[in-house]
């Protein structure tokens, strides 16, 4: 009897561990039911022909047919993938730099700072898929047909000047594209500004005091203190922006998946989203391993 009791007797550490499980239990059950199971099911769907009947799902295993169709048969899907990838490569560095810059400004002390912060966080509140699309359509141009109005501001004058100056067409295109995107960028970087601001708060002010005593300029302070200490936050921001840019509802692949779902082609939609997910996964791994391998962590 005593031995049995000894077997069930938990050490303090183990008991603590059980408490930990108790705290995450709700999440864990939900995670299995609402995440693990759906993800496995969707993987099975992607490998099968799915039909919805009144009694439930009917699946017939077809192997890699859906994947084959998405990548090699469908004329649009591959192009949509490349489009959203290019779009992401465009946006992420610009948004990261822009939001870091704005956060540094909003972190300084000046008159009207609260007002400026309220202004810059406004997009976080309003920027939902549908509303922002409608607002953009409204703001972009007076053209009733809605033609030629992808961007709210068009830098035609800038384009002309640069072309006259003999700068290569590609560079001009990139620059004008950048200017035209100001609206999009400033509206998409609300959360990132917030994250950077929170990150800036964690840098001890004594670092700056010491460096200014040593005679460092503001510019040097930024590159030697702020920038390296912000690198963990930059990583979070970049990953967030990548995910945001891919899961934005206007993303061409998102639209394609929605189209397949609306057309009741569940198996095909699942395959499309799995290809998309694998692409995102590898990009994020690449960012974590290659781009940010020198991230500085101060604590722990």
């Amino acid at each position: 009897m005593k031995r049995l009791k000894g077997k069930f007797h938990l050490s303090l550490e183990e008991r603590n561990g059980m408490k930990g499980y108790a705290f995450i239990m709700l999440w864990l059950i939900g995670f299995i039911f609402f995440f693990i199971m759906p993800i496995i099911e969707s993987f099975i769907y992607s490998l099968s022909d799915v039909k919805v009947t009144t009694s439930g799902m009917k699946t017939a295993f077809v192997g890699l047919k859906n994947y084959h169709e998405a990548l090699l048969v469908d004329p649009n899907y591959f192009r949509q993938l490349v489009n959203s990838l290019v779009n992401m490569l465009y946006e992420v560095p610009i948004i990261a730099m822009f939001s870091m810059f704005i956060a540094c400004i909003l972190n300084q002390k000046f008159k009207g700072r609260t007002f400026a912060r309220v202004l810059f966080f406004l997009p976080v509140i309003i920027a939902s898929g549908v509303s922002i699309e409608i607002l953009k359509q409204g703001g972009m141009s007076t053209d009733i047909n809605g033609m030629d109005s992808i961007y709210m501001f068009k830098a035609t004058a800038l384009e002309q000047i640069l072309t006259e100056a003999g700068i290569s067409q590609k560079v001009v295109m990139y620059l004008t594209n950048l200017v035209n995107r100001i609206f999009d960028i400033s509206w998409k970087s609300g959360i990132q500004i917030l994250l950077f601001l929170a990150g800036l708060q964690t840098i001890p002010s004594s670092y700056y005091e010491v460096s200014s005593m040593e005679g460092a300029t503001r510019w040097e302070e930024f590159w030697k203190i702020t920038f390296p200490l912000l690198s963990p936050i930059t990583l979070v921001c970049v990953v967030y922006t990548i995910i945001d840019s891919f899961t934005y509802y206007q993303n061409p692949v998102m639209q394609a998946i929605k189209g397949s779902t609306d057309g009741l082609k569940y198996g095909y939609a699942a395959a499309q989203s799995w290809i998309f997910f694998i692409l995102i996964f590898f990009i994020i791994i690449f960012v974590l391993r290659v781009v940010f391998r020198n991230t500085v962590y101060t604590e722990e």
Partner: protein, 328 residues
């Protein structure tokens, strides 16, 4: 000797003069650079403010416009004010009902998320158990998986709802009810729950260990410690998570569009439907309304409650930034 001393004094004076002038020059340069920076900053903020406020102001101007055709002459102030766009939009959006629906959906989900995510975050922050790192890795993993990967299965889960076989062989249809959002939120797997768990974990990790020890000595159990000691201290984090969750639920389109098809739709779904509806109508050339004006009016009235809440609670949004202390 005297001569030497005089020369020495003179040279000293010269040196001090030079250094003084250098000092003032440095000061002047510093002042000038500060002033120019302040000017640049002000200009930049005004410019960005214009970019951010432009669509909002244009929305206001369009929503209250009484014209049918967009005129080249009108930039901001419409020639004729009228409430007809607002009226039509509020009819299409079933205004009072949808406000209540969207509010109920967002606020209850947000509240449930605060509860479930803070519990999970506390568990991950303060207890050591087997597989903790792995499970927390799964939390982070769930942030990066795009919802479209599994939304179809989630939809089918609610269409034929049967929680681990609790209802036997029969299943319940939960589509078009708020449970499609409330149940995942309660289970810590709602909209962006992974991010919220991460935020809470970061916060609880930063709390001093002594607090818990003191509570333990006073006879608190683990759950009581969490409820009485930790949660009151995490009030700012709770509020931040609540506000963000509320806003994201209010604006969510993708999941809502899947889950609400016949009734109880929130604003985002209805506005999208209205847009499709009006575009189809415009194919028949109805002359007595302007699609853009109508849609702007819809967006305005759907965002109005959110903007009011933001204006009231903006202090918490902004303060939260200073206090939440998210670290990478």
């Amino acid at each position: 000797m005297n001569q030497i001393r005089a020369i020495q004094q003179k040279s000293m004076m010269v040196v001090s003069k030079i250094s003084l002038s250098q000092h003032t020059r440095k000061k002047l340069v510093h002042k000038a650079s500060n002033a120019s920076w302040a000017l640049f900053r002000t200009l930049l903020i005004i410019g960005m403010g214009y970019v951010i406020l432009y669509p909002i102001l244009s929305m206001l101007s369009k929503a209250f416009s009484g014209d049918y055709i967009q005129s080249e002459l009108v930039v901001w102030i419409p020639r004729k004010f009228s409430l007809q766009n607002i009226y039509a939009a509020s009819k299409f959006l079933k205004y009072p009902t949808t406000v209540v629906n969207t509010f109920l959906l967002s606020s209850v989900s947000a509240l449930l998320q605060v509860i479930s995510c803070s519990l999970a975050g506390y568990g991950f922050a303060r207890f050591k158990f087997k597989g903790r790192e792995l499970l927390f890795g799964m939390v982070l993993f769930s942030i990066i998986v795009p919802p479209q990967t599994y939304i179809i299965s989630t939809y089918l889960k609610f269409r034929f709802f049967n929680f681990f076989g609790l209802t036997g062989k029969s299943s319940i249809n939960l589509i078009n009810t708020f449970w499609t959002f409330w149940i995942p939120s309660l289970m810590g797997n709602g909209l962006r729950s992974g991010l919220f768990i991460y935020i809470f974990r970061q916060f609880f990790r930063g709390m001093p260990k002594d607090l818990e020890d003191a509570a333990k000595i006073d006879g608190c159990g683990a759950f009581q410690t969490y409820l009485r000691i930790m949660l009151p201290n995490a009030l700012t984090s709770c509020l931040t998570v609540f506000l963000f969750s509320f806003v994201w639920h209010w604006n969510d389109y993708y999941t809502s569009n899947m889950m609400f098809q016949i009734k109880n739709e929130p604003f985002s779904v209805l506005i999208f439907r209205q847009q499709d509806f009006l575009r189809n109508l415009s194919a028949y050339n109805f002359e007595n309304f302007n699609i853009q004006y109508m849609l702007n009016a819809s967006v305005l009235i759907s965002l109005l409650p959110l903007i009011i809440i933001y204006i009231i609670a903006q202090r918490y949004f902004i303060e939260s930034v200073d206090k939440i202390g998210i670290k990478g």
